[in-house]
Structures are given as structure tokens and as C-alpha cells.
Amino acid sequence: MAVTVKTFASAGEAAGALSSDRSARYLGGGTLVMRALNEGDVSISTVVRAQDQALTRIDASGPRIKLGAGVTFARVLAERDLGFLHAPARSIGGPAVRNMGTIGGNLFAPNPYGDFTVALLALDATVAVAGGFGSRDIGIEEFLQARDRQAGTLVLSISCTRPASTEAFRYRKIARIKPKGGSVITLAAHLPISGGRIAGARIALGSMAPTQIRARAAERALEGRSLDAATIAAAASAATEGTSPSDNALGSAWYRREIVGVHLRRLLSGQE
């Protein structure tokens, strides 16, 4: 069925059009929206686009980086200053999907997708959104918890602090098909160190709940400690707390619960 495509020059106009029409869907890279249209999803009757340059801007030089929602994974990979985000970007799809898919769209991608968002969640990112109310910043965790109710809001950009060192940020995606493939589980850890102790640990998990979640019990096990074997073991055994994975073709809920601690232990101990 044909849909109406509305193209706007500014993000503000696009946000206005989105918030006033329940059947409108914003088109980022289209890798999921076009798939839905090809499948005959009749809940979409309007597609909204914005050609605003601000949506594809990358500001990566300072300690706090800002990425426009329309930045693709291929662009992240081409940016040397974004090296800490290369592993999550590289873990997504094949080359064509990375050329098309955007980080804004990834915030909405359901399981087994949304890998980049796992990294952003561990980095305590901030999401700038625009709606009928104007624009505002919202913490990524709050954003994800209310994701189903975000229809009608346009994501403008995502920002986060650059990790202090390569060691401080780690990412791991478990997939059956390599080098591409949906996530069995995805893990990211941000471990800032202050005076030899972890201060502000963040562990984020993908495919362990309906949206990406923080593993708070594991974070608590790490907080204020040094990253030794006992601490790692405690964090790994707490990894399943608060999770609610589901069964899909890539793995059962049982299997996901079994392996998440194993992979968290490997991630924290720096094993391949």
C-alpha cells in the first residue's frame, strides 16, 4: 500500500509532523522501517523524513562527544576519534546495513538488535529529543524504559563522555553467525577507575530483557573495588539479577541466563 512521504528541511518541522500524526513513522536509514513497509505493515501510513544537516553531525573532538541521530555506523567507523565505539559499530549487520542504519534508529531496534544502544547505555548517554513540546535532554535509561511511548518524538542527537582509557570501556556481542548476525546476548561495561578502585561502574546488557538494561547487581559488586578475581566472580554471579530474557530462534531464555555470567566474567577479565 502506498504511504505518504513527507520530507522536511528542518528537524523541528519533522518533529512537529511526527507528534501530530499517530500513524507517522520517522525514516532514519530505513533498514527496519522499509522492512516493515515491504512486509505490508498497515500501521504506517505516513513516513516522515528530515534533511537537516544537524542530524548527521559528529562532534568527536572533546571529552564529551555528540552524534546526530542520523549518523550511520559506517561514519562512526570512519571517525578515528570514535575508536571506543568501533567495536559496537562493527558488530552490526553487513557492510550495506552499516552504510544505511543509523544510531538514532538503533535506539528503537527490538531484539535481537539494538547492539549499539547497549554500548551507549553503558556510557550513560544522553538522548536529545524533540516533540510537540520543544526539545529536551533525557537519560538513555529513562528513554529506553519509555521507548514504547516515544512514538511521536524525534531523536536529534546522542551524547556521552569519552571513556578515560581503552581499558575502561569494553564491549562484547555473542552471535551465532559471524561476522554478522543477530545478538544472542550483547554486553558493554564502563569501568572508570579512581585511586585504583572502580567508581561509577556501568554494565549494560542486550537481549536479556525486552529493552537493553543495566545489570545493577553486577554494578554494585564492582563498585568501590579493584578489578580482581574475587570482584569479577561476584559481578559474574550477579549478572542475571533483574533480567527477563525471552526465547527466540537464536537462543532460549534459559541459555541466555546460563551464558551471561560467563561472558561478563570474560569481558571483565579481558579474555578474548
Binding site: V5, N38, G94, A96, V97, N99, M100, K180
Partner: protein, 158 residues
């Protein structure tokens, strides 16, 4: 619903067509321009046989909203041959038995061209990575990988 005018460059030639809202580029190329070289496999982004180059970048035409290519350069397999001669990649595919049923071949060739245009001497791993979004049901991939390495002038391992 009214038709939307769309102009872009298709294999070095300007084309002007009218599309319905929501039409994907694969449908526009096959049904409106008559370029049957990009194939329809899944319409889901999963098989890669509809791959084309947009401004030199590999894209899945089944997941591209046709309107988004306005004013841009779209290359398909149809534009690959060089005058009466096959492109070195096409030649290498033929010489290395890299096609059986041939259904995946257009997408494989576009993915390979995107790679070699950017990186003329890729490693074997880079070739594998470059075609990782393209599924072949027949060859087992080895002949395809060898063909791409051969076209690149790389050593073809046994």
C-alpha cells in the same frame, strides 16, 4: 494518491520517473526503469542480492526508499561492464566458477566492487567481511572469495 517525480543518475544516465509513496528502490529499478540486474530475494535486508551502489556506497535497494536517491548516483550490475568487455570482476567470477545458479551474483559483484574501489588490494579477511551481507546458496563462498582476490590481483590460495 499522487505520483512523486524522481530524478537520479542511473549507471551514468539521467532518469526521470514517477513513483508511489513508499516504493523501494529495487521496485523502481526493476519495474519502472527496466533494469533487472538487481534481484529480489527477501525484501528484508537479509540476502543482499538487491545490493546497489549509491554515490559509491553499498546499499540494499529493497530497504532504500526510492525518493531518497533524488539527485544521486545509482550504480547497478547493468552498468558494470566496460563497453563490450566484462569488468575484471565479472571476468574473474566466470574464470573462477564463482556462480552456479547466479542469483546472488549481482549483489556479490556490487559488494566486491564497493570493496575494490576503496581498497584495491584487500586481504582475504577483508573480502570475507565485504561480502558478509550477501548470501549464496550454491557456491560455498570459496570460489567467490577467490574470484574477488583474483580480480584484485591478489594471490588465489588453493
Amino acid at each position: 494518491m499522487s505520483k512523486i517525480p524522481l530524478q537520479f543518475r542511473h549507471n551514468g544516465r539521467d532518469v526521470a520517473i514517477f513513483v508511489d509513496g513508499g516504493t523501494n528502490l529495487l521496485v523502481a529499478l526493476r519495474e519502472l526503469i527496466g533494469d533487472m540486474t538487481p534481484k529480489f530475494g527477501c525484501g528484508q535486508g537479509g540476502c543482499g542480492t538487491c545490493s546497489v551502489l549509491i554515490d559509491g556506497e553499498l546499499h540494499l535497494s529493497c530497504l532504500t526508499l526510492a525518493e531518497t536517491v533524488a539527485g544521486r548516483f545509482v550504480e547497478t550490475l547493468d552498468g558494470m561492464k566496460q563497453g563490450p568487455n566484462l569488468h575484471p570482476l565479472q571476468r574473474a567470477f566466470a574464470d573462477n566458477f564463482a556462480a552456479q545458479c547466479g542469483y546472488c551474483t549481482p549483489g556479490m559483484l556490487m559488494a566486491a566492487k564497493a570493496l575494490l574501489d576503496r581498497n584495491p588490494q584487500p586481504s582475504r579477511d577483508e573480502v570475507i567481511e565485504a561480502i558478509s551481507g550477501n548470501i549464496c546458496r550454491c557456491t560455498g563462498y570459496e570460489p567467490i572469495i577467490n574470484a574477488i582476490l583474483a580480480a584484485a590481483g591478489g594471490r588465489v590460495s588453493a
